[in-house]
C-alpha cells in the first residue's frame, strides 16, 4: 500500500512538472525576484548596485507616485458602481422571456472585444465633434463641447466609465449564475408574505448573492488598482498627471525609462496595498455575517 502511494506520488509530480515549471518561472519567480530587485538600482545601462531601502524612501517622496496612488484609489470608486449596475442587469436578463439570451450575448460583446478597439471607439465618440457631445448638447445637458479626455477634471472619470462599460457584461454573467442558483420557492415564500419586487431584491436576492458580491468586489478592486490598458491607450496618464494610475507610472519607470529597481519597489508597495484592500473587502463582508467563502 505504501509503495503504491509512493509511486502514485511520483506519477503525480511527473504530471504536474511541466505546468509547475512554467508557473515557477512566470508566476512565482516574478513575485519573489521583485523583492531583491527593489533593493538595487538595476537599470540595464549602468552597473547594478545594492541600494538598500533607498528606492522605498524615494518612492514616498516621489510626488508623482503619490498622485498615481491617489488616482488608483479614486479609480476604486468604480467598484461599487459596477456591482450595482451589473446586479440590476443580471436581474433584468434573468427574466424568462423570449429572446433574452440574445440580449445577454449583446451585453457581453464589449467583454470579448479587445481593449484597443474599445478604447479607440470611445475616444472617437468622446471627441470634440463626437457623438457624445452632440447628443448631450441636443439634450440640453451641456451648453458647449467638452474635451472629455483632455480635460484634467473629467479624464479620470471618463476612463472609469469606459472600464465599467467594458466590464459590465462579465460581472452580469457572474451575478446571473448566482441568481440562477437561488431556489424559486424562496421568492414564492416571500411573495406570499406580501413582499413587493423591491423587498424581494433587498431581502432575498442581495443576501443570497453575498458570496458572488464578495468575489466580484474582490476581482474588481484588484482590476481597478491594476488598470492599465485603457489609461495607457487613451491618455498615457495625462493631461498632466490627472489620469496617472500606479500601473501606468510603474510601467513608465520600468519599461519606458528602464529603472527596473525603482519600478520593482513601486510594484511591491502597490502589491501590499492591493493585499491590504483585499483583506479589507473580506473583513467588511465577514461583518455581514457570511463566511461561506
Amino acid at each position: 500500500m505504501k509503495k503504491a502511494m509512493r509511486s502514485e506520488s511520483f506519477t503525480a509530480w511527473a504530471f504536474m512538472a511541466p505546468g509547475l515549471l512554467f508557473l515557477a518561472v512566470f508566476t512565482f519567480w516574478p513575485i519573489i525576484y521583485g523583492i531583491p530587485l527593489s533593493l538595487t538600482d538595476y537599470s540595464v545601462i549602468t552597473e547594478t548596485n545594492y541600494v538598500g531601502l533607498s528606492n522605498f524612501t524615494r518612492a514616498f517622496q516621489d510626488h508623482n507616485f503619490m498622485i498615481s496612488l491617489w488616482n488608483s484609489l479614486v479609480y476604486v470608486l468604480v467598484v461599487p458602481v459596477i456591482q450595482i449596475v451589473s446586479i440590476l442587469m443580471a436581474i433584468l436578463v434573468n427574466s424568462r422571456i423570449p429572446g433574452v439570451k440574445m440580449f445577454r450575448a449583446a451585453y457581453y460583446i464589449p467583454v470579448v472585444t479587445s481593449m484597443v478597439a474599445v478604447a479607440l471607439i470611445w475616444s472617437w465618440l468622446l471627441g470634440n465633434n463626437g457623438v457624445v457631445n452632440y447628443l448631450l448638447m441636443q439634450a440640453g445637458i451641456i451648453s458647449e463641447q467638452v474635451s472629455w479626455l483632455s480635460t484634467s477634471s473629467t479624464a479620470l472619470y471618463v476612463l472609469m466609465f469606459i472600464t465599467m462599460w467594458k466590464g459590465l457584461g462579465y460581472y452580469m454573467m457572474l451575478y446571473l449564475a448566482g441568481l440562477q442558483g437561488i431556489p424559486a420557492d424562496l421568492y414564492e415564500a416571500a411573495r406570499v408574505d406580501g413582499a413587493g419586487p423591491l423587498k424581494l431584491i433587498v431581502h432575498v436576492t442581495i443576501p443570497l448573492l453575498r458570496p458572488h458580491i464578495l468575489f466580484c468586489t474582490l476581482i474588481s478592486v484588484m482590476g481597478a488598482i491594476r488598470v492599465f490598458d485603457e489609461v495607457y491607450i487613451l491618455t498615457k496618464g495625462g493631461p498632466g498627471t490627472s489620469t496617472l494610475t500606479s500601473s501606468v507610472y510603474i510601467f513608465q519607470k520600468g519599461l519606458e525609462q528602464f529603472n527596473f529597481g525603482y519600478a520593482s519597489a513601486l510594484g511591491l508597495i502597490v502589491s501590499v496595498l492591493v493585499g491590504a484592500l483585499s483583506v479589507l473587502v473580506f473583513r467588511l463582508n465577514r461583518k455581514g455575517g457570511v463566511n461561506s467563502y
Binding site: M5, E8, S9, T11, W13, F15, M16, P18, G19, L20, F22, L23, V25, F26, T27, F28, W29, P30, I31, Y33, G34, L37, M89, L92, I97, F103, A105, A106, Y107, Y108, P110, V112, T113, S114, M115, V116, A117, L120, I121, W124, L125, Y134, L168, M173, L174, A177, H212, F215, R226, F228, I233, I250, L255, A263, S264, G267, L268, V270, S271, G275
Partner: protein, 282 residues
Amino acid sequence: MNLTSVSTKRIQKVTRYLITYILLILLALFMMGPFLWLLSVSLMPGRNVFASPPAILPTFIDFDNYVQVWQFMEFPRYISNTVIITLLGVVFNIVLSCLTAYPLATFRFKGRNLVFTLLISTMIIPSATAMIVHYLTIQAFHLGNSYLGVVLPAAVSVFNIFLMRQTFLGVPMDIRDSGKMDGASEFRIFIQLVMPLVKPGIAVIGLLEVMAFWNNFLWPIVVLDDPQKYPLAAALTYLNGQFSYNFGWIAAGTMISVLPIIIVFLFTQRYYMEGIAGAIKG
C-alpha cells in the same frame, strides 16, 4: 369576476413584458451602440465623418474603406501573426493546465496541499512587478522578438488549472481503476480514457484563451521589436497613430480586428458563459 381577474392578469403580464423589453433594448443600445456606430462609420466614405452634426447613420453603404485599408495594412500578415500567437497560447494552456490539474483532482500524494496553497496564494498576491520580471526573464532566455516570448509568460494560468481540476473531479474514478486493471499506464489512462471525458472543460479553456491571446496588445509590443510581427490588436494602435486623419480606414480596420472574435463568441457563447459562471463555483 373570474373573467375580469383573468384579463387583468393578462394585462399585467403584457405590461411586465413590455417594460422588460424596453429596458432590455435601452441597455442594448448602451452596450452595443458604440459598435453599431463604428460599423456605420466604417461603411461611410471618409468625408462624411467629420461633418457637423456628426454622422451617426450612413447615408449610403460602401465598402471602400474596407478595401482600401485591407490593401494598405497588410492585414493577412497581422491576422496570421495573431493566429500563430493565439494557437500557441491555446495549445500551451490546454496541455499544461490539464496535466497539472489531473493529479490535483484524482491522485492522493504528499505535497498536494502544498501545491494547492501555492496556487491559491498567487491569486491573492497581485504581481504588479510581474511584467518587468517577465521582460528580464524573456531577455535572459533570448526569446525577445519571438512569438514564444509573447506566449510563454501566459502559457499556463492558475485560473485554468482550477477550472480543469473542477472538470476532472466530475469524472468517475472507476475509469482509472478499470484502466489499471487492464494494465494501462497512468499516462495512457489519462490520454485515452480520461481526456475524452473532459472535452467541455477543454473547450472552455480554449475559448477563454482564444479571447485573451487574440486581444492581447501590450505584452506583444513590449516583447516584439519588429512591428511586422505584431498581432492585430497591437497593429491597430499602430494604425491609429499613422492614419489618424483617415477615420474611415481606422474604423474599418477596427471592425476587421473585432469581427472574428465576436463571431467566435457568438457561435460558442453557451459554453463560454457556462465556463465563466462555473469558474466561481469551484
